[in-house]
């Protein structure tokens, strides 16, 4: 079972804010889902290699050659706040 405090902590890890009205609903919905997921513990998976991709995936390398890229101007074009060649964010350190 996940507690309301854990929901708060996970929300912080996920960089989300959940207001008090939502917290109860979220906690109970998450618990329903986690309870359902617990079904997996019926299975003995000792020695089973975990699968990360559906097909054999190997590193995809290419030659170390400069190719066309989208450039600074279009990279910054969608920024909520940009100045010069930089993304601007609120102050980090006092």
């Amino acid at each position: 079972m996940i507690s309301k405090q854990e929901v708060e902590y996970v929300a912080h890890l996920a960089r989300l804010e959940i207001d008090d009205a939502q917290k109860d609903k979220f906690t109970s919905q998450l618990n329903d889902i986690l309870l359902y997921i617990d079904k997996l513990n019926e299975l003995d998976t000792k020695g089973v290699e975990p699968m990360s991709h559906a097909i054999a995936v190997t590193n995809a390398f290419r030659d170390d050659k400069v190719v066309e890229s989208i450039g600074t101007e279009s990279s910054l074009a969608n920024a909520p706040d940009a100045r010069g060649e930089f993304f601007r964010v609120p102050k980090v350190i006092e």
């Binding site: 890890l13 960089r15 997921i37 290699e49 969608n78 920024a79 909520p80 993304f87 102050k91």
Partner: protein, 485 residues
């Protein structure tokens, strides 16, 4: 028949014989959109000006005799594939103003094949949903019954094809998001093998599961679309360098001597009796077509949904960490400092279902829980994949219902996430195993709602799916109906 009601191959015939032009086809599609889009709401954004310009260019090409695979064919794009210079929202407030500086590979390929883009289709926010109700831009309605959902997450793409608001469309499928809406809207939808179609420019949801695929009005059109979409892409690291056949060659071939596996785990309690009887009828058509149906077992089926609801949210929580209000998209107007800006941006930018999945995923990956959840799920996933490998040694194709029920009512499952997740119960295993699957229409309920059947095959065997789907389509002679709008 109006031009917008025809298939790709029918329109190609008319284009080649000079009976119609690309501009006439595009105009016919936009006339239909003007008439029904208010009711259906399949699109987030229409691209009428761009489409008419592209159609004019297609007509110039046609005059020069330069006719390609999709010249002049109006196609809708799920709003999850990046279109250069055209807003790509992924159904979310957090991307409501995002204008991609590049095209997805599939967009480039369709464009190079002569396609005319009609617009960006509605979808569940970040493709998380089974009903297209979680879109920031409003719900899409099922053209067969406007009180009902079209399925999801690619509900807009499916509804647009079913309502003849385009000729074919592009969707993406992480746990059934192409096949489930195809079934509920009465059209053909294919999820290709993991690695078959490039995902460069697809907004990522769960990277080990996502695939792009087509929605079409019939199986031959599906083959035509796959000929354009499939193939290796050096810009996508999971793209596979495997030979791509001409999928059209599989259309019209018979299936004599094929073994069709019917997994007993897919015929469970709770499956709608009308769905069950439609599938039984379909099985007899397959047998009359020369297929031999045998019982098979996929013993870990009952664990698929639990595995999926660990793996997909875990990967989503990681993929969606990039939406921080710094580089693109929405940013909150009221932040004290950087951390506060992140939190407020994400809290105001994401909808409830996306937050729920980010939370599950973050929890499952957090310190102390990784082994219990993600690792355990990845191990069970290996067992599920092994089930399919064993089953496909005994048969050529696996046949199942696509969904346990026909389209449900708008609002019916929005308060109960788990009930909503259960509507994907027959489609999720395919993504976990990475194999391809196709949904084809197999009849209607008494109240006139479409029912879909799913065929599954081994990795890179899309050709076999097209072959059996086409044989079924030809021999079942499902009555041709159109939604009354």
């Amino acid at each position: 028949m109006e031009l917008n009601q025809l298939t790709i191959h029918e329109l190609q015939g008319k284009i080649k014989s000079g009976k119609t032009s690309a501009v006439q086809i595009a105009e016919s599609v936009f006339k239909r959109i003007d008439a029904v889009e208010k009711q259906v709401h399949a699109y987030i954004r229409l691209m009428k000006e761009e489409a008419l310009a592209a159609a004019k260019k297609a007509d110039d090409d046609i005059k020069k005799g330069n006719i390609k695979q999709l010249t002049g064919i109006p196609i809708a794009l799920k709003d999850i594939v990046c279109t250069k210079g055209i807003t790509t929202t992924c159904g979310s407030h957090i991307l409501h103003n995002f204008v991609p500086p590049y095209n997805a590979t599939v967009v480039e390929k369709l464009s190079a094949a002569g396609a005319v883009f009609v617009g960006k289709a509605n979808m569940d926010e970040f493709a998380m949903g089974s009903s297209t109700e979680t879109s920031y831009f409003g719900v899409t309605r099922n053209p067969w019954d406007l009180e009902r959902i079209p399925g999801g997450s690619s509900g807009g793409s499916a509804a647009a094809v079913a309502a003849d608001e385009c000729i074919a469309s592009i969707g993406s499928d992480t746990g059934g998001s192409i096949r489930q809406p195809a079934a509920l809207c009465g059209i053909v939808g294919l999820k290709p093998t993991y690695g078959r179609v490039s995902r460069f420019g697809l907004v990522a949801f769960a990277s080990s599961l996502d695939q792009i695929g087509p929605f079409t009005k019939d199986v031959e059109d599906c083959a035509i679309m796959m000929n354009v979409l499939a193939g290796y892409d050096s810009r996508e690291s999971t793209s596979v360098q495997a030979e791509v056949p001409d999928y059209r060659q599989f259309v019209g071939r018979d299936i004599k001597g094929w073994k069709i596996g019917i997994p007993k785990e897919y015929f469970i309690e709770g499956i709608d009796p009308e769905v069950s009887s439609a599938i039984k009828k379909a099985i007899s058509v397959i047998e009359k077509s020369g297929g031999q149906c045998i019982d098979i077992s996929l013993p870990h089926t009952q664990y698929c949904l639990a595995v999926y609801y660990i793996i997909a949210p875990a990967e989503a929580s990681s993929n969606l960490a990039r939406y921080d209000g710094v580089k693109y998209g929405f940013r909150t107007a009221e932040a004290r400092d950087l951390l506060d800006m992140y939190k407020k941006t994400r809290t105001q930018g994401f909808g409830a279902e996306v937050k729920r999945r980010i939370m599950i995923g973050t929890y499952a990956l957090s310190a102390g829980y990784y082994d219990a959840y993600y690792k355990k799920a990845s191990q069970v996933r290996a067992l599920i994949k092994r089930d399919f490998e064993e089953a496909l040694k005994k048969c050529d194709i696996i046949l199942t219902p696509t969904t346990p029920t026909p389209a449900f009512k708008i609002g019916e499952k929005t308060d109960n996430p788990l009930q909503m997740y259960l509507s994907d119960i027959f489609t999720i295993s395919t993504n976990l195993a990475g194999i391809p699957g196709i949904s084809v229409p197999c009849g209607f309920t008494a109240s006139g709602l479409p029912i879909g059947m799913q065929f599954l095959a081994g990795h890179f065997e899309e050709g076999k799916l097209i072959q059996i789907a086409s044989a079924y389509e030809k021999n079942a002679k499902i009555e041709k109906r159109r939604p009354q709008l």
